[in-house]
């Protein structure tokens, strides 16, 4: 079973995505801020990271920066509340493999994961 790390500070959203992914047969690990997310990356070695942008302690860009600094390449997907072009550009330019704008359909999430994990 592929391991997906979900980093999201909003409890409802975090729990719902976790549940949806579990129902889609993924093993889901969660972190409720960027700092916890980095700790989880180090200890749990996820196959893919789903990460919110605005979070306390460490934001999504900082988490991505950490991921990019490591030799192992882990597919990274931003889940963002901003539909503004500049934010999306910033995410992509920082090296994110994909992004999903909230609210998104579970099918779009599934397709994004399948595309990146094969």
């Amino acid at each position: 079973m592929r391991k997906v790390l979900l980093i999201e500070d909003n409890q409802n959203i975090r729990e719902n995505i976790e549940e949806l992914l579990e129902l889609s047969n993924y093993e889901v690990m969660t972190a409720n801020n960027g700092q916890e997310g980095v700790e989880a990356i180090q200890s749990r070695k996820p196959d893919l990271i789903l990460c919110d942008v605005h979070m306390p302690k460490m934001n999504g860009y900082q988490v991505l920066e950490y991921v990019k600094s490591k030799p192992t390449e882990i597919p990274f997907v931003f889940i963002t509340s901003s539909s503004q072009e500049k934010d999306i550009k910033k995410g992509v330019l920082s090296g994110a493999d994909s992004y999903l704008i909230k609210p998104f359909e579970i099918e779009d999430l599934q397709n994004t994961i399948i595309k990146l994990l094969g």
């Binding site: 959203i13 609210p103 359909e105 579970i106």
Partner: protein, 511 residues
């Protein structure tokens, strides 16, 4: 007396000279009788020589001048001194045909055999006078044209020229100068008088400049206002271009220009005003653009978050129902309801703001028991606080106050929910209500993240979120609404804040 050959030759020569001279030579005796004249003189006056000899000299004088001439002739005989050509009055002579013509006459005096003779050499100067008259007319015309051009130029430039006689303290100015000063050109103008026209606000610096120019012997340049006798305020530019000095080097006259620059100044001032307006409009435009950008950013985040919950929860309800997991979908229904409530609250904030901005908010103060009022508010707030967090209520002063419950409740809910939201450390919050004699002072103190000092001024701006709050949900409308409510109540709001130590908001409502 014997005459020598030499004398005869001399006489002959003189005779030739007399006969052929190209000036008129007339000799008259003491009685004014013409005794001789040369052919040129006869031709000049239109007579034959015979016709003139024996006649009174006055025959050659215009009728109206005869009496005067007679007197002149008599006085000349009393004191006969040579009178040279071109000296004295302009003379006119009369021809046989009565026509007058200008002449130049030189007189000399001789005695011949006891007879007193006056010799007049007469020159017809008609051609010369005509030439001179034409030249004078031409020059006069040119001068008049030049003067007209100068006056036109002065008029167009609103510029008058001035000559200031330092010795007499008198101005001599061009026509335009008087127009600028709104004075009659016959009015005597003195420096003292001009100084009395100076605008009170400009008088001091003009006097200082005058003194400086005088002391250093420099040219004087000044821009100032005057108030004319008609009460009009005019902007004047004045500059001396030349200082005239006497033989000892002492300045005796200053020459310069005085220009009416009122129109220019008005234009400058209008231009400045337009520029200010433009800058204001531009600033407003920039603010609106920034506001729009902040709104889009805020709206996007604040709406998309509950919408994500609603969409994902509704999909999970669907999936659980399909799979028969009846125990699990209930939680999602409540999540959906809570997200809808959240959206409604954001919408209400927008509506409150819109209502405020369109002036639809009413202010209805009534006597309220403050403790009961605070308890009701705290009950609502306690639903938001963390398990280890407390809101401490402190009251001082009278128990009652005259307030609009709806508005003050919204203010308190806003400030207290902010205090909870921006205290992620779960530290306690104080609510202090102090009923003073003439005001109600409410303090809400948290020990949370604080507000960066450089952003203090922007805190009450619409959709503004401090940098350290960007990862915490919020619309940036709350404090704007609070401030507007207080404006309606003629109250005030201020705050003290230290980053990472906390913030205290102080509200004052007049009683």
């Amino acid at each position: 007396m014997e005459t020598s050959f030499h004398d005869e030759y001399e006489d002959a020569l003189l005779g030739v000279m007399f006969q052929h001279a190209t000036v008129g030579i007339i000799m008259a005796n003491e009685a004014g009788i013409i005794i001789r004249c040369n052919p040129y003189a006869a031709r000049m006056f239109g007579y034959e020589i015979d016709e003139l000899v024996g006649e009174q000299i006055e025959i050659l004088i215009p009728d109206n001048l005869r009496t005067t001439h007679l007197e002149h002739r008599k006085s000349y005989h009393k004191n006969p001194v040579p009178r040279y050509m071109g000296v004295g009055r302009e003379l006119f002579a009369k021809r046989k045909d009565d026509k007058q013509f200008p002449v130049e006459v030189s007189l000399s005096y001789a005695e011949d055999g006891g007879q007193k003779i006056v010799i007049a050499v007469v020159n017809d100067i008609t051609v010369r006078i005509e030439k001179e008259t034409k030249l004078v007319a031409k020059r006069t015309k040119e001068l008049a044209e030049s003067r007209a051009k100068l006056l036109d130029a002065q008029k167009v430039a609103q510029l008058g020229s001035i000559e200031y006689d330092l010795v007499e303290d008198v101005f001599r100015g061009s026509e335009q100068l008087y127009k600028i000063l709104e004075l009659d050109s016959t009015d005597p103008m003195t420096f003292k008088k001009y100084k009395s026209y100076l605008h009170p606000d400009d008088s001091e610096h003009v006097h200082a400049k005058i003194a400086e120019a005088k002391e250093k012997g420099q040219l004087f340049v000044s821009e100032h206002r005057i108030i004319t006798e008609k009460g009009n305020v005019k902007h004047i530019y004045t500059r001396t271009s030349n200082i005239i000095k006497d033989a000892e080097g002492k300045p005796i006259e200053r020459r310069g220009i005085v220009q009416d620059i009122t129109a220019l100044k008005t234009m400058e001032s209008e231009l400045r005003e337009k520029q200010v307006q433009l800058e204001k409009a531009l600033k407003k435009e920039q603010e609106l653009s920034e506001l729009k950008s902040r709104f889009v950013s805020m709206a996007s985040h604040e709406f998309r978050t509950p919408l994500t919950t609603i969409l994902s929860s509704s999909r999970l309800v669907e999936m659980h129902l399909e799979r028969g997991n009846l125990d699990k979908y209930q939680k999602h229904l409540s999540n959906i309801q809570s997200a809808v409530k959240n959206l409604t609250s954001i919408l209400n904030d927008f509506l409150s703001l819109e209502k405020l901005e369109s002036g639809k908010v009413q202010f209805n103060p009534e006597p309220v028991n403050l403790s009961e009022f605070a308890s009701a508010v705290l009950e609502e707030i306690n639903l938001l606080v963390a398990d280890n967090q407390k809101v401490k209520y402190i009251h001082s002063g009278d128990k009652e106050a005259n307030i609009d419950q709806h508005l003050v409740r919204n203010i308190l809910i806003n400030l207290l929910s902010n205090a909870v939201k921006y205290s992620p450390n779960g530290k306690d919050i104080d609510l202090h209500i102090d009923r003073k004699k003439s005001s109600l002072v409410i303090k809400v103190k948290d020990r949370g993240i604080g507000i960066p000092e450089e952003q203090h001024e922007q805190m009450f701006g619409r959709f503004f979120r401090a940098d350290n709050a960007s990862n915490i949900q919020g619309t940036g409308i709350g404090l704007t609404i609070v401030k507007r409510y207080l404006d309606i109540m003629q109250g005030s709001i201020s705050f003290k804040s230290k980053l990472n130590l906390g913030t205290t908001f102080i509200v004052e409502i007049p009683q």
